[in-house]
């Protein structure tokens, strides 16, 4: 899985995961890998948006609009987050 994540990639939540929420922040568990993953505010926001499978670009666009942040920074952060989630078996790319 050395393929780098790209904006055009479509991402979705992996089917076999557990999710819960503590004080607004989402905590995930990959059943397959047995690892837990705690998400911060923005990460939790991305995860909520992933209720619908969509392209990485679409997620970035939505965040850029909502957070008025620096475009390049948001894209980098989202790619890093989704890459990590994919490595943990929590996100599928297809």
């Amino acid at each position: 899985m050395s393929e780098v994540l790209k904006l055009a990639h479509k991402v979705s939540r992996a089917p076999k995961h557990l999710a819960t929420e503590v004080d607004g922040n989402i905590i995930l568990m990959s059943v397959e890998k047995g690892v837990y993953c705690g998400l911060d505010d923005i990460g939790s926001d991305v995860w909520r948006r992933l209720a619908q499978p969509q392209s990485v670009a679409a997620i970035c666009d939505a965040l850029i609009a909502d957070y008025h942040g620096e475009r390049e920074q948001i894209i980098a952060d989202v790619l890093e987050l989704l890459t990590a989630l994919r490595r943990q078996g929590l996100v599928d790319v297809g």
């Binding site: 819960t20 905590i27 837990y36």
Partner: protein
């Protein structure tokens, strides 16, 4: 007619309380407090009867336990009894010992109670719980970690026992998670009893010939008989290594709360086979938000018991 009604009334008069359920039992259950709630029909019936060797559509969870997708369960303890959780409101027991043997109740209030919680939508935590002040605290950990010993020691200091070993939580109660009381009894080994200053002579043994005993709290006020809001959970961790620089009670960040609590779901493997994992994981979040979760590190010895009890009391106040 009136003889029958008297018989029915007297049967109802023997009803008991367990985790918020009205329980009618054909077997004596001396640990349990009487039912003092409303006049509902029993939520749960326990009776003796014959049990099929194999449940329809059953799968083996272990050499001792079979379950079905409809949440039936059959637990077999050679020489003691077979238990059939026939539905969420009925347990049938086929004893291989005298009906009033404590051994039978040992497994009834262990695995069977845990599976009842799962089938009835309660969240069973592997923990003992007491009321400190006006709220419940739970002490959680694996077997031998010290849950019962600490709970018993705290109860002896005037706090009320809520449950031992299985802590039934309603994570969705209005106002926040509550603990549903079980009964005022702990199970303690000889060494724990000695550490608390209780004589084992005269106590009922958990299993015939075992040096682990039932200790029942009989004094008024030593049992919290109504549901109590859960304020804190202490996860017991043992330590061989020196604790240099590390406080014994450590507040846990949300992710560590979830990881710690997830490991302490009672009879977690059967619950997973019943497809309950996703909702139990969600329930963890509902508990870990409003309830404070701490890691309580202690050495394996019982010498520090008094100090540990004092520390918990002060911390939970």
């Amino acid at each position: 007619m009136s003889a029958e009604r008297t018989a029915m009334e007297s049967e109802a008069a023997g009803d008991l309380y367990l985790c918020g359920w009205r329980l009618r039992s054909a077997l004596p259950l001396p640990e349990l407090a009487p039912w003092t709630g409303d006049d509902r029909q029993p939520d749960l019936t326990i009776r003796t009867g014959s049990i099929p060797a194999r449940l329809d559509g059953a799968r083996d969870v272990s050499p001792l336990l079979q379950v079905t997708p409809e949440k039936q369960a059959r637990l077999s303890i050679d020489g003691v009894a077979t238990y059939w959780l026939r539905n969420a409101g009925e347990v049938i027991i086929a004893p291989q010992m005298a009906d009033d043997s404590p051994d039978i109740r040992t497994f009834l209030f262990g695995t069977i109670l845990g599976l009842l919680c799962h089938s009835r939508g309660l969240f069973p935590l592997h923990a003992s719980s007491v009321r400190i002040g006006d709220r419940a605290i739970a002490i959680s950990g694996m077997s031998g970690a010290g849950k019962s010993t600490l709970a018993a020691a705290l109860t002896r200091r005037g706090h009320a026992l809520i449950s031992d070993d299985v802590c039934a939580i309603d994570p969705a109660a209005p106002g926040g998670p509550v603990v549903l009381p079980a009964f005022p009894r702990v199970k303690l080994w000889d060494d724990s009893l000695a550490a608390i200053g209780i004589e084992s002579a005269g106590l009922t043994a958990n299993r015939l010939g075992q040096r682990k005993f039932y200790f029942r709290f009989n004094e008024a006020g030593s049992f919290q008989a109504t549901p109590a809001p859960l304020k804190a959970i202490y996860l017991l961790a043992s330590s061989n290594a020196p604790l240099a620089g590390r406080s014994e009670i450590e507040t846990l960040a949300p992710t560590l709360r979830i990881i710690g609590l997830h490991a302490q779901i009672y009879r977690k493997r059967t619950a997973a086979i019943w497809g309950l994992e996703p909702e139990l994981f969600k329930a963890l979040g509902r508990i870990a938000g409003p309830v404070d979760v701490y890691r309580l590190t202690r050495t394996a010895h019982l010498d520090d018991l008094a100090a540990m009890v004092g520390r918990i009391e002060a911390h939970a106040a």
